[in-house]
């Protein structure tokens, strides 16, 4: 256990020595010990409060970097080429890596307290995960796994890792954005996209079903995934029945363009 939280036994002996010099009549021998304890507590909270301020400051920088990344990624909806969009967005990964490194350093000052302060970076990390996962999909059409995400951010599981629930929630967030992506891709003439995204999302959904989820936030987010799946199916269906997409064939035929 962290020693800064334990108050050593020497504190007990101090109550007997400070008794003699009490000025106020109302002070009992016990109250000086009481005061001492609370004074120690105040110091403790000053320290932990300080730590938390530093953590929050880094966390807010993480949020800014994530926003920049997101903003670059949004260009994908305006049908800029994927490689160009990824190039821009990836620029922030180095920044994030550095920031998480800082976070790790700060929390390492109080080993074992990762989860005491976890709330301060939890939501932001979930966002970072979804952005990374989306970028990974654009590049490889596969799912960014937990270990891969950890590596991208330079996180080390034994020191300062990526919480698995944060990762899973991040993946759910990514799923939330896929329908919009698919819709805009089709509008731009990429008719094979729905099929690919559908396959991907179906696989992800199936993988999530392997999890024995309790009734919590993660479960709620996972439940939302089926609406994303449904929307992508709708788009896929729209494209398919109009013969816009070529069956399973992704080579060259997309250039034919929409029916006239």
């Amino acid at each position: 256990m962290d020693s800064s939280l334990q108050f050593s036994a020497s504190m007990l002996t101090s109550k007997h020595t400070s008794m003699a010099t009490q000025d106020s009549v109302s002070h009992s021998p016990h109250s000086s010990a009481l005061e001492k304890q609370f004074q120690d507590f105040r110091h403790h909270f000053d320290d932990s409060g300080c730590l938390r301020e530093r953590i929050r400051s880094v966390a807010s920088e993480i949020e800014s970097a994530a926003r920049l990344m997101h903003s670059s990624l949004l260009l994908i909806h305006q049908s800029r080429p994927v490689t160009e969009v990824l190039e821009k967005a990836k620029g922030q990964i180095g920044v994030l890596k550095e920031l998480y490194g800082k976070l790790a350093e700060i929390t390492w000052e109080c080993p074992g307290h990762y989860y005491r302060y976890h709330g301060d970076w939890r939501g932001k990390t979930q966002n970072v995960v979804w952005l990374l996962a989306f970028m990974h999909w654009l590049e490889t059409e596969s799912l960014l796994l937990h270990a891969e995400a950890e590596e991208k951010l330079g996180l080390k599981p034994l020191e300062f890792g990526l919480d698995i629930e944060d990762y899973l929630i991040g993946i759910c967030f990514m799923s939330n954005d896929l329908p919009r992506y698919v819709v805009n891709q089709v509008t731009a003439g990429n008719y094979d996209c729905p099929r690919k995204v559908l396959k991907f999302l179906t696989d992800v959904n199936a993988a999530f079903r392997m999890l024995n989820l309790r009734n919590d936030f993660l479960h709620k987010k996972f439940d939302g995934m089926r609406f994303d799946l449904r929307r992508v199916e709708e788009v896929h269906y729209d494209v398919k029945i109009r013969g816009l997409s070529m069956n399973g064939n992704s080579t060259g035929e997309q250039g034919d363009g929409p029916r006239s």
Binding site: L34, Y114, A207, E233
Partner: protein, 292 residues
């Protein structure tokens, strides 16, 4: 002929392919189900599973992690509930205290507290090793707070002093076996428990007044005042600042109730005790007026 009638029959039997529902059905049904399923749809039929296998491997690991975590959480919650229940029992016992049975009540209370530590807190110890101590705090905090409440209450009745955090933690150290880290209560749970203590002390004070033990009530009054004053400086700095704020408001109410009771006794003097409870609607412990 056969073929066409078979097809005809098939057409009658087959469900209407509804827009967006066709292979959606299998995907959408029973999202709450817990058993693992492999989904095959038009889109995935031809897909090589080699792509989803690393995904499935990874997810089976995540599933194992979540199962362990959730099962552990459940065990912790159960242990915490047991600690809560049995600590509350100790508190109720202490309320039965009077000038005649003080020793007896406190002795039993201490014994029972020791039992709480032995039987229930011991179950928490092994679950809360390493980072789980903070990770699962929400699961065990209520129990620990209740224990702190009970332990500090007993200690006050016995010595008139506040049992400090270090003393409580010292008492928890011998219980666990040497291979595990002992459970050491953190500052936050201690302070939250302390806040609840003031409520019990208020009840105790009122009870003691109706028994004529004014001095005891006065001791409680100055004690609770001091705690409130000290906590006022710390409350906003705590991790659980908003929880603590609510407790501070309640605490001030408790302090004032005690002060009002002491005031009533002071003003009405000897007339107060015999007729206690008959006029004053503040006291829920309506004592039967003493028959002189």
């Amino acid at each position: 002929m056969f073929k066409s009638s078979a097809i005809h029959r098939l057409c009658l039997m087959a469900p209407k392919p509804q827009r967006s529902r066709h292979f959606g059905e299998t995907a959408l049904l029973g999202t709450a189900t817990k058993k693992p399923r492999t989904l095959t749809t038009d889109a995935t039929a031809s897909a090589a599973d080699s792509d989803s296998n690393p995904m499935k491997d990874a997810f089976s690991k995540y599933a194992a992690y979540l199962n362990d975590l959730n099962e552990k959480r459940e065990r912790v919650v159960k242990a915490s509930r047991d600690v809560t229940m049995n600590s509350k029992k100790v508190i109720f016992q202490v309320h039965r205290i009077s000038k005649n049975n003080k020793e007896e009540v406190l002795e039993k209370a201490e014994k029972d507290l020791a039992a709480v530590v032995d039987q229930y807190i011991s179950r928490l110890v092994k679950e809360l090793q390493g980072t789980d101590f903070w990770k699962l705090r929400r699961a065990y905090s209520p129990g620990v707070q209740e224990y702190v409440e009970a332990a500090t209450l007993c200690n006050f009745c016995k010595t008139g002093a506040l049992l400090n955090l270090d003393q409580i933690n010292a008492s928890l150290r011998p219980l666990s076996d040497p291979s595990v880290e002992p459970l050491q209560i953190n500052v936050l749970d201690y302070l939250l428990g302390l806040a609840d203590l003031t409520g019990e002390l208020m009840r105790l004070a009122i009870g003691r007044i109706s028994d004529g033990e004014l001095e005891f009530a006065q001791k409680i009054c100055s004690f609770v005042r001091e705690i409130h004053r000290e906590l006022m400086l710390i409350a906003p700095k705590m991790d659980d600042a908003s929880d603590m704020k609510t407790k501070m408001d309640v605490m001030l109410q408790s302090v004032m109730k005690i002060e009002n009771a002491c005031f009533s006794v002071h003003v009405r003097g000897s007339e107060y005790i015999p007729f206690l409870g008959s006029e004053d609607t503040n006291f829920s412990l309506l004592g039967v007026p003493e028959i002189e």
